[in-house]
């Protein structure tokens, strides 16, 4: 029984009313890698909810989520000191890239969460990268959560209320000439990833994207979360959530 855990909430913060950051006692084995997620019983919904690991130290695990519906609503009401029923860490992870490559992280909306973890890892590995991050509007922008470090940040909002008035994918494309990219790590809504995939394909850029499907088991045993790939249906929870963008049959 290594992956089913009851973990204590160490601290909780709420940003802009609908974004919640929890630090949990780190009881996870093996040590999580960026891209992996926790499958959490929220109390507000019948099945667990998948949330990316947004950061991890020896002592604590960080999650960051938007209040969307019944599950995340209930989860947002938890207090410091209370416990969460968790399965994790689960899923695969972003592959660690070659040092020599030009790396870009591209986050749309709450796709920020897994990329925060990846960014911290790259920083501690002293690897260079660029961070592209876009949100709907200023009220949805959590750029203050980006880790400190010596890397370039590009911020956009769909309505221009902060940063550039572009989608994050448009921004990424426009900068391509000046900001060379060999490999992309991306997370966010399906349509955003699809658009990004197209650009990467056209520009011959390697890209790994993290998908968000509805999940039941989160453990690879129920076949509930599949996405269509060129190799047939694959489980987002176990074969993913991170996929080489060329493998996915975008719909």
């Amino acid at each position: 029984m290594k992956k089913h855990k009851i973990m204590q909430v160490l601290s909780k913060k709420i940003y802009k009313e609908k974004f919640v950051e929890l630090f949990l006692e780190n009881d996870l084995t093996p040590f999580p890698r960026p891209g992996q997620f926790l499958h959490i019983l929220t109390g507000g919904a019948f099945i667990r909810r998948p949330l990316s690991i947004a950061g991890c130290t020896e002592n604590s695990v960080r999650i960051l989520f938007e209040i969307k519906g019944k599950g995340t609503k209930k989860l947002s009401e938890i207090s410091k000191g209370q416990y969460l029923d968790i399965v994790g860490p689960v899923g695969n992870n972003f592959p660690l890239p070659d040092r020599k490559k030009e790396i870009s992280l591209v986050a749309g909306g709450m796709g920020l969460a897994p990329l925060l973890f990846l960014a911290s890892q790259l920083i501690s590995e002293k690897m260079n990268f660029k961070f592209f991050y876009g949100a709907r509007d200023k009220g949805h922008l959590l750029d203050f959560l980006l880790p400190k470090g010596d890397y370039k940040k590009f911020i956009s909002t769909d309505d221009g209320s902060d940063g550039e008035k572009l989608t994050v994918v448009e921004m990424f494309e426009r900068k391509l000439n000046n900001e060379k990219t060999d490999i992309v790590f991306a997370a966010g809504p399906y349509q955003m990833l699809k658009a990004l995939s197209e650009i990467c394909r056209n520009n011959n850029i390697e890209a790994y994207v993290s998908l968000e499907n509805i999940m039941f088991c989160g453990l690879g045993v129920c076949q509930g979360c599949v996405t269509e790939t060129i190799n047939g249906y694959k489980r987002v929870c176990r074969d993913g959530p991170v996929f080489d963008h060329r493998e996915i049959k975008w719909t």
Binding site: H4, C217, Q223, V226, Y233
Partner: protein
């Protein structure tokens, strides 16, 4: 916890505990070892396997209710041959009876699986999935007593292994198919599979059909086992909405010799442990044994059929 007293025989099938995983939420059998403690499980069961590898239905495949789930996996699996070459040997190491669930689009497909697997070592029983509501190209076999009888009869001819008939609850009277299965020589019944349901998705304005499982089906599943126990004399594995220790015991009281956990094995991986503990406590407090409480409160069971 002394599990010895939870040992139970379902005819020739000897289980360490009466708590079993249900097919379809346990992968190919060895994948949940880092989530639930296998010590508390009486057997290993596989996802339903078909003769050819099966793609399954297009996503989405999972929908949620307040107290349950609807799925339409469509039997995605690697196929029996791949299972036999890649998975079976790992399962044997678990030292538990191995139940292989087999299914398919036609009775012939199912029989082919059994014929092929019958030659392999280490399999204790075949569970014939006669009840999957999610294969759009075929009728549910166990909705019809004759078809149920026929396939079991044929299966018994090609294997000496234990045959479990997994029944559909989407029938007028589950005893009709249960009796047909028994008469054809089934060794054990497994009741029930999922209930035919529908989900409307407001986001994309689509209706999805599937099979409903989880706590919401428990009273109906319990009734199915209760009715079967009054009419058949082979052992019954009770499955459907078991979400707690109490409900596991209720299933046994109604007539189940063992119980299967599907949806709630995922929602609460500690449930097998909790059920075992609860059972042991119950047996101790009431100075009784597991065999004696099977069907204990099913007052209508005819004495004659009690054998």
């Amino acid at each position: 916890m002394d599990l010895k007293q939870l040992k139970i025989k379902l005819g020739k099938l000897v289980l360490d505990t009466p708590v079993l995983p249900a097919s379809g939420t346990f992968g190919y059998g060895d994948e949940l070892q880092d989530v639930t403690d296998y010590k508390f499980l009486g057997a290993i069961i596989t996802k339903t396997l078909t003769w050819e590898q099966t793609q399954g239905n297009p996503p989405p495949r999972i929908w949620e209710f307040e107290n349950g789930l609807m799925n339409s996996i469509g039997l995605q699996n690697i196929g029996v041959r791949c299972f036999a070459s890649e998975k079976l040997s790992c399962l044997k190491k678990l030292k538990k009876p191995i139940i292989v669930s087999v299914g398919g689009k036609s009775p012939e497909d199912i029989l082919k699986c059994i014929e092929f697997l019958d030659r392999k070592n280490g399999i204790s029983a075949f569970e014939l999935n006669l009840s999957c509501p999610n294969i759009k190209t075929s009728k549910i076999i166990s909705e019809d007593p004759r078809s149920t009888f026929n396939i079991i009869k044929k299966a018994k001819k090609i294997t000496d292994k234990i045959i479990i008939a997994k029944l559909s609850p989407n029938v007028r009277d589950i005893c009709e198919t249960g009796i047909a299965a028994e008469e054809a020589g089934a060794d054990i019944l497994c009741a029930v599979n999922t209930y035919k349901g529908l989900y409307y998705d407001w986001n994309n304005k689509k209706m999805y059909t599937g099979g409903v499982s989880g706590s919401m089906i428990f009273p109906m599943a319990l009734r199915a086992v209760y009715e079967l126990y009054q009419k058949v004399s082979i052992p019954i594995i009770g499955v459907g909405g078991i979400s707690s220790e109490k409900r596991a015991l209720e299933m046994i009281f109604a007539g189940a010799s063992a119980i299967g956990l599907g949806t709630f094995l995922i929602i609460n991986p500690e449930l097998p442990m909790k059920i075992c503990k609860f059972l042991i406590d119950y047996l101790k407090t009431n100075h009784t044994n597991l065999q004696s409480i099977i069907g204990l409160y099913n007052e209508k069971r005819q004495k004659e059929t009690d054998c």
